[in-house]
């Protein structure tokens, strides 16, 4: 590796050629503040507009200060990161940014978790000169089913634009206008609701300020919990338990399943269930659908739609409804675990405990913001009563726990309630990229071959590469599997299918980086991809620790079929557990 010699703040160092001043400084313990810059290393995501100018440093011999996040080191450079000139510039630039930013930190959704606030604290800003005469750029507040856009708080870091366009290729957001009026917005500055937004929430996950936040449903949940006429049950998605602890200061990747269940009980939920139960159910339905299509294919049916695509990610469903409406018949018709759970809860379980549908409230805890929209879809309700009433994110749950005076760290571990709290290890790994297809493979293999899997872990399906593929030998048949996380990667696979170039039999798609562990509702990663890796590791650990690791071996699932559904893909199953898709591409322009 080529090395260059340079001097930073009086220290002579040697660093690899091609790295930035910021990274070189970091390597010797000098932490130059950055604001707009963001890198998710293992996911190939980098936002480097060089726009905020907070990270400027003095480079000897240069006329202007250099942005350290995007200036590469050069041989012989002499850099001062904390000279009077650099510090004055940094402070003045921050004052400028703050002069066009609302000062309602006390009541901002991002308070305490805001990069801009941290920067103001770090630089000790006490006064913003001329604030009383400074015009602020203001924009219309935009509230959608999942996301709130308060662009008065936007600092134009462009992270959301990068996620929405480069990583997700959704294209709902773009920089619009110019100069002081410049802002990130959907086309025509219309509401997000009318745009091609999939509510994946990746914009929210990376927003350094309170400009993009989730719609908070905690108050609805609190009032429901306090309504004596309601029986309130809660389901928790697999990725939540691998990340919730971070909100309480635990190291990323700490599993807090037992504490979480305890906390939910204390919050007053009548039944604490697990979405994983529904994930096992999903495998039964989706796996069967996959096997059916494959069998037809092997029997020479030319019209069968292959590859089959997973359908448990609601942002992904929104994505293809908007962008690939002509391919509606390719994804599995299986509903997502959240919705399967709601559907079963409000029929099978409601009957079981003798509660009327309208008196049963289903709340979901999700790592996801698209789930908020998904549970509001009309097709997932009966006579106006939704299968899932409210969906709150991991972050909202953490706030709720704190607000309810629960000392999370002191909580004993508790177990989920039965029957809908029981799940297999296969269901747990739904929370990470590759997990759904691995779970499906475990079941499909055993059902198809009627033999026991020699090895449960499919290492070849795991990892963080954006697009992965593997061929699984199922008793002589080579099952070709594709995996994509991130909608931009998904788009590539879809384009191939459209062009007839795809050679896969089954494809798993998750919208968020790393899958649900990197969902838009998770504790903020602040650009640290190590956090995502730790969460994935935790998920696989939980799987390995489970006594049952294949969905079709979950006794409560088997009981559910026996008592209620009959068999996978039965008419009843179809009615309660499957769905259909809509063409949302032809939206007419409306603000």
């Amino acid at each position: 590796m080529d090395l260059v010699k340079l001097n930073i703040d009086g220290k002579n160092i040697e660093v690899p050629k091609g790295i930035t001043i910021h990274k070189a400084a970091k390597s010797i313990g000098i932490d130059i503040p950055v604001l707009c810059y963001m890198e998710l290393k293992d996911l190939n995501i980098e936002n480097k507009p060089g726009g905020c100018r907070i990270c400027v440093v003095e480079v000897e011999g240069r006329r202007n200060l250099a942005p350290s996040c995007s200036t590469n080191v050069e041989e012989g450079m002499v850099i001062k990161t904390s000279s009077l000139r650099a510090m004055n510039a940094r402070r003045t630039v921050l004052e400028l940014i703050l002069s066009d930013h609302p000062k309602d930190c006390l009541i901002c959704a991002k308070s305490g978790n805001c990069d801009l606030q941290d920067m103001a604290i770090r630089l000790g800003v006490r006064k913003i000169p001329g604030q009383e005469f400074a015009e602020m750029s203001t924009y219309r507040l935009d509230t959608s089913p999942s996301i709130i856009r308060d662009m008065d708080k936007c600092i134009l870091c462009r992270r959301c634009e990068t996620m929405c366009n480069d990583f997700q290729t959704v294209g709902a957001l773009s920089a619009v206008n110019r100069g002081f009026q410049a802002v990130i917005a959907p086309a025509f500055e219309m509401n997000l609701e009318h745009s091609s937004c999939t509510y994946c929430g990746q914009c929210v996950a990376v927003c350094p300020t309170g400009a993009l936040t989730e719609v908070d449903h905690t108050p609805d949940v609190i009032s429901t919990l306090n309504d004596p006429t309601k029986t309130v049950i809660v389901q928790t998605a697999p990725a939540v338990r691998a990340a919730l602890g971070e909100e309480f200061g635990l190291a990323p990747g700490t599993l807090v399943t037992g504490k979480m269940v305890n906390a939910l009980r204390r919050l007053g939920f009548n039944y604490v269930f697990d979405t994983d139960f529904a994930a096992d159910l999903t495998i039964m339905e989706e796996g069967t659908e996959m096997l059916n299509r494959l069998t037809k294919f092997l029997n020479g049916d030319k019209d069968v739609k292959l590859p089959i695509l997973t359908s448990c990610c609601p942002a992904w469903v929104n994505f293809f409804e908007h962008q690939f409406p002509e391919m509606q018949d390719i994804p599995s018709t299986a509903r997502s675990p959240q919705q399967m759970f709601g559907s079963i809860a409000k029929t099978y379980f409601a009957d079981k405990i003798g509660v009327k549908r309208e008196d049963l409230v289903v709340v979901s805890i999700m790592p996801c913001l698209a789930k908020k929209y998904e549970c509001q879809r009309e097709e997932f309700s009966v006579d106006g009563n939704p299968d899932v009433d409210f969906s709150i994110s991991t972050r909202e749950l953490a706030h709720f726990i704190k607000e309810a005076n629960i000392n999370f760290m002191e909580l004993e571990n508790e177990d989920f309630d039965k029957p809908m709290g029981e799940s297999s290890g296969a269901a747990v790994i739904f929370g990470t990229t590759g997990g759904v297809i691995e779970a499906a493979t475990r079941t499909a293999y055993e059902i198809y071959t009627k033999k026991e899997l020699p090895k449960i872990d499919f290492e070849e399906l795991r990892g963080l590469d954006g697009i992965r593929e593997a061929t699984i030998d199922i008793d002589g048949f080579d099952l070709k599997i594709g995996i994509a996380h991130g909608l931009g990667n998904a788009r590539k696979l879809l384009e191939d299918i459209k062009a007839g170039k795809s050679h896969y039999h089954a494809i798993e798609i998750m919208a968020c980086p790393g899958g649900c562990i990197g969902g838009g509702g998770q504790p903020l990663h602040h650009g640290d991809s190590k956090i995502l890796k730790a969460r994935a590791k935790a998920i696989y650990k939980e799987d390995a620790n489970k006594p049952i690791r294949k969905s079709h071996e979950n006794p409560y699932i088997l009981e559910l079929y026996k008592e209620f559904l009959g068999e996978p893909m039965s008419e009843k199953a179809h009615h309660l557990l499957h769905t259909h898709y809509f063409d949302k591409s032809k939206k007419k322009f409306q603000i």
């Binding site: 709902a172 957001l173 773009s174 619009v176 025509f188 322009f589």
Partner: protein, 162 residues
């Protein structure tokens, strides 16, 4: 940016498609396509941008981002006689502001809007490069040089009778 809601006729949609096609539906030609469309429609309503985005296989948000970046593009229909006042330095130094104020007063409209009858619209532009004639006013293709506030009335009269 606000926009008037319109319904595009099929022939208008076809026209946009044809324009896009002459530029090989290349997203890199977006600005050229928008120029042609604005030439065709006089402005760039949201509906036109949607078709353009579709044809160039890019997001409407990006198209809108470009439209709002460049001052030459407008989402508001211009008057039959669009009046542009040059506010470049040479014109400024020679009193363009007073001329602009007079136009606003005479037409009783603000910059960026049209008169209620759709006859005149008012806009400012930066330096048309006719600094020798400062202050300069353009009405459609016609250039008026050395305009004084007193001369505004005469300019308007010229078009009133048309």
């Amino acid at each position: 940016m606000s926009s008037v809601k319109i319904e595009l006729r099929k022939d208008q949609v076809d026209k946009i498609r044809q324009i896009a096609k002459t530029f090989k539906n290349d997203p890199g030609e977006l600005i050229n396509v928008l120029h042609k469309c604005q030439g065709e429609f006089g402005y760039l309503p949201a509906e036109v941008q949607e078709v353009v985005a579709d044809e160039l296989k890019m997001s409407v948000a990006k198209v809108y981002g470009v439209v709002t970046f460049y001052s030459f593009f407008s989402m508001i229909p211009t008057g039959r006689y669009p009046i542009s006042i040059c506010t470049g330095t040479a014109c400024y130094v020679r009193g363009a502001e007073k001329v602009l104020a007079e136009f606003k007063k005479q037409l009783n409209i603000e910059v960026g809007t049209s008169s209620p009858d759709g006859k005149f619209s008012l806009s400012c532009l930066r330096c048309v490069g006719a600094c020798g004639l400062a202050p300069v006013v353009l009405v459609g293709d016609k250039t008026f040089g050395r305009v004084s506030p007193d001369g505004v009335k005469d300019i308007l009269k010229e078009f009133e009778e048309m």
